[in-house]
């Protein structure tokens, strides 16, 4: 049973959100009236089934036999040695079925949809990873699947688009706004509001209206629970630092959540600085944004002085989002997590380093976490321990990286 549900100790940082879905001033349920009823219904189902042993047994069975959990915690010895400081352990979410942490959540939500009697699944996707993970579980459980994807992203991610089609999903291009992830989310919301009776909306990150930020976190918290246990098994103690990249923040909160009350563990979230925070071309709301309301929750946003959302930039489509999960906004304000950033160039260097030194091709999203790891590790003692979430594999990014080097694959 996820600890977020079990824990009633209000002293704990793991007891958020409050019953109305607020993490301090953040989160909440800022949606049109038509969605209020369906969200209440979803919240009831989520609370009921996450405390239902039969549901949890099925979820855990699927994670073990279909997803391939537990994922290894791998000691990257050569890279640690090369950097000359802390020992780096990689949580290998890249080895999950479909190649990233996203599937932990889509399996959970699809099982919930089944219990609620909804046979039509919709999702938004940016790079296509969440779309693929959703199309995959829709195929697995025999559900209709519609994926909304920005027309720009469809051009950039042809392979994932075809992958979703192979899996039987319908991919609908979104031509509105900036034609990227945020617009796909708007469009999925519009679909949901129209077809709310038979449709389950699988949101892919820890944003959106309550209960999504809590629910998506709970379905990803397996990452941190495993990592904590594996670290103790392998090293006899807890890590000194844990690191993850942040777009919406689902892989990060998945790793962080279990460790929130472990005061001796320093936690770092790495946002996408794109061309550099100072250039304005970034996707780093926690580092350079201001508070606002978007997609159903209050959080930090990349926006102009009148509250219009600004187009973000990152080499990694999965981090190219103007908002961030409300729990991260709260963890920033209370100072529990330090939110830093890595540029496109820094992420690319880490991408190449890990590939050459460890024989692991990381996703460009995860490469941001690796980039900060390579900064932090040399400042730490050789017996210090860092866990970095390798949230996805980089096969999907080969074309992006090759084209930057002028190579057509």
């Amino acid at each position: 049973m996820p600890e977020a549900i079990k824990n009633t100790n209000t002293e704990s940082l793991k007891s958020m959100p409050d019953e109305r879905g607020h993490f301090g001033p953040y989160g909440g349920r800022f949606v049109s009236e038509t969605l209020m009823g369906p969200l209440e219904e979803l919240e009831e189902a989520y609370k009921k089934y996450l405390n239902d042993p039969e549901f949890m047994a099925e979820y855990e069975y699927e994670l073990k036999h279909y997803v391939g959990r537990p994922s290894p915690l791998y000691h990257a010895k050569r890279w640690s040695e090369e950097l000359g400081g802390a020992q780096i352990y990689l949580k290998r979410e890249d080895l999950n079925h479909t190649g990233a942490h996203k599937v932990n959540n889509t399996v959970g939500q699809a099982l919930l949809a089944k219990r609620m009697g909804k046979r039509r699944i919709i999702a938004e996707t940016g790079a296509g990873q969440h779309g693929v993970a959703t199309a995959t579980v829709a195929a697995r459980y025999g559900m209709e699947c519609i994926v909304y994807m920005g027309a720009e992203d469809i051009k950039r991610q042809a392979i994932n688009v075809y992958r979703m089609k192979l899996l039987g999903a319908t991919v609908i291009p979104v031509e509105a706004g900036s034609k990227t992830l945020k617009d796909a989310l708007n469009e999925a919301m519009r679909d949901w509001v129209t077809n709310v009776d038979d449709t389950f909306y699988i949101i892919g990150t820890v944003a959106g209206p309550h209960p999504y930020p809590a629910m998506v976190r709970d379905f990803n918290a397996i990452v941190g629970r495993e990592a904590r246990e594996q670290c103790q098994e392998q090293t006899g103690r807890l890590p000194d630092s844990i690191i993850a990249c942040i777009g919406g923040g689902s892989n990060a909160i998945g790793l962080f959540h279990t460790f929130l009350d472990d005061k001796e563990v320093a936690i770092y979230g790495v946002e996408a600085a794109g061309d550099g925070i100072e250039t304005g071309r970034h996707a780093a709301p926690l580092n350079a944004g201001q508070v606002g309301v978007l997609h159903g929750n209050r959080t930090y946003l990349v926006e102009d002085s009148y509250g219009q959302i600004i187009e973000t930039h990152s080499i990694s489509a999965g981090l190219d989002y103007p908002g961030v999960g409300p729990e991260h906004a709260w963890l920033k304000d209370i100072g529990r997590v330090k939110y830093v950033s890595a540029t496109d160039d820094e992420a690319l260097k880490a991408f190449h380093d890990l590939t050459l030194i460890e024989g692991i091709i990381p996703a460009l999203e995860s490469s941001h976490a690796l980039a900060y790891t390579s900064k932090l590790a040399p400042e730490m003692d050789k017996d210090a321990i860092i866990i970095t979430n390798l949230s996805g594999r980089g096969d999907k990014d080969i074309h992006t990286v090759a084209s930057l080097e002028g190579i057509t694959v």
């Binding site: 800022f30 049109s32 009236e33 038509t34 706004g177 945020k182 309301v293 509250g307």
Partner: protein, 268 residues
């Protein structure tokens, strides 16, 4: 007495139905928006809904989304919206103005500052699509000293106990969203609307307006039969877009369209 209250009192006395057209501020320009507002009032609009353009209009269909995009491309911001209202008030001090939009532009300006500027401009009410009663405490508190009504929505999925909760905090009038969907959707079921409106009517003395899916005199008449007010948005915005290049023709077209809805409602 507020302008909205006076408006509905008059409507009731004359046994009429209120007509509430919606346009997006700054589409195609702030000057034309101002002209259109006067045209709307002259053609028989009882209340005018003025949209604050937003980059991510989640509850709107493609027609109003594009209007928002056009207005933003022209650089229209919240202060421009207040300026339009201020100008309008110089020649019209009776027609209530309700601003409609999303919460983020208000969040960023600050609730109190927004309320103060809105009141100074002559705004009477606010419809904030993504701010349900549960999240509106701060906004309600900021609006109260200025006598600006926050108008809440009720939808086909709103459960009975929620209707009570909404009626408790609502003022001005109630806005019933006629269908599950976004603005400009097509499938309007008048019988279902009638049933829900009667359910709401049993709980409040506030006037009930109905919007979403009203596109011509025929649908306006059908909805007018079962409600106190009819809101028309996408059908109007579509006509504005169609004549974006010729503002004189646009004004004529808008005036005759609103006139046809007015006649349909007055025939009831």
């Amino acid at each position: 007495m507020s302008r909205i209250e006076a408006c509905f009192n008059a409507i009731k006395e004359q046994n009429k139905k209120a007509l509430i057209p919606f346009i997006t501020a700054g589409d195609p320009s702030t000057d034309i928006s101002l002209d259109l507002m006067h045209e709307l009032a002259a053609a028989g609009a009882d209340i005018i809904e003025l949209g604050i353009p937003f980059s991510d209009p989640m509850a709107d269909g493609p027609v109003i989304q594009r209007a928002s995009e056009r207005a933003l491309l022209k650089g229209t911001n919240s202060d421009d919206v207040f300026d339009i209202v201020k100008e309008f008030r110089k020649r019209n001090d009776t027609t209530p103005i309700v601003l409609m939009g999303y919460l983020n532009p208000i969040e960023v300006m600050g609730y109190t500052k927004f309320a103060e500027k809105a009141a100074n401009a002559g705004v009477d009410g606010l419809i904030i699509v993504d701010s349900p009663p549960e999240e509106s405490e701060e906004l309600l508190t900021a609006l109260k000293p200025y006598g600006i009504d926050q108008i809440f929505l009720i939808s086909p999925t709103t459960r009975d106990e929620r209707i009570d909760k909404i009626c408790e905090v609502a003022s001005g009038f109630l806005y019933y969203v006629s269908l599950k969907g976004v603005t400009g959707s097509k499938q309007l079921d008048v019988d279902a609307v009638s049933k829900k409106v009667n359910q709401i009517r049993s709980k409040t003395s506030l006037a009930i307006g109905v919007g979403f899916g009203i596109k011509d005199a025929h649908t306006a008449e059908a909805v007018g039969r079962v409600s106190d007010a009819v809101v028309v948005g996408s059908a109007l915005v579509e006509r504005i877009a169609e004549h974006a290049e010729d503002s004189e023709k646009m004004k004529k077209e808008i005036s005759s369209f609103i006139g046809s809805l007015r006649n349909a409602l007055d025939s009831l």
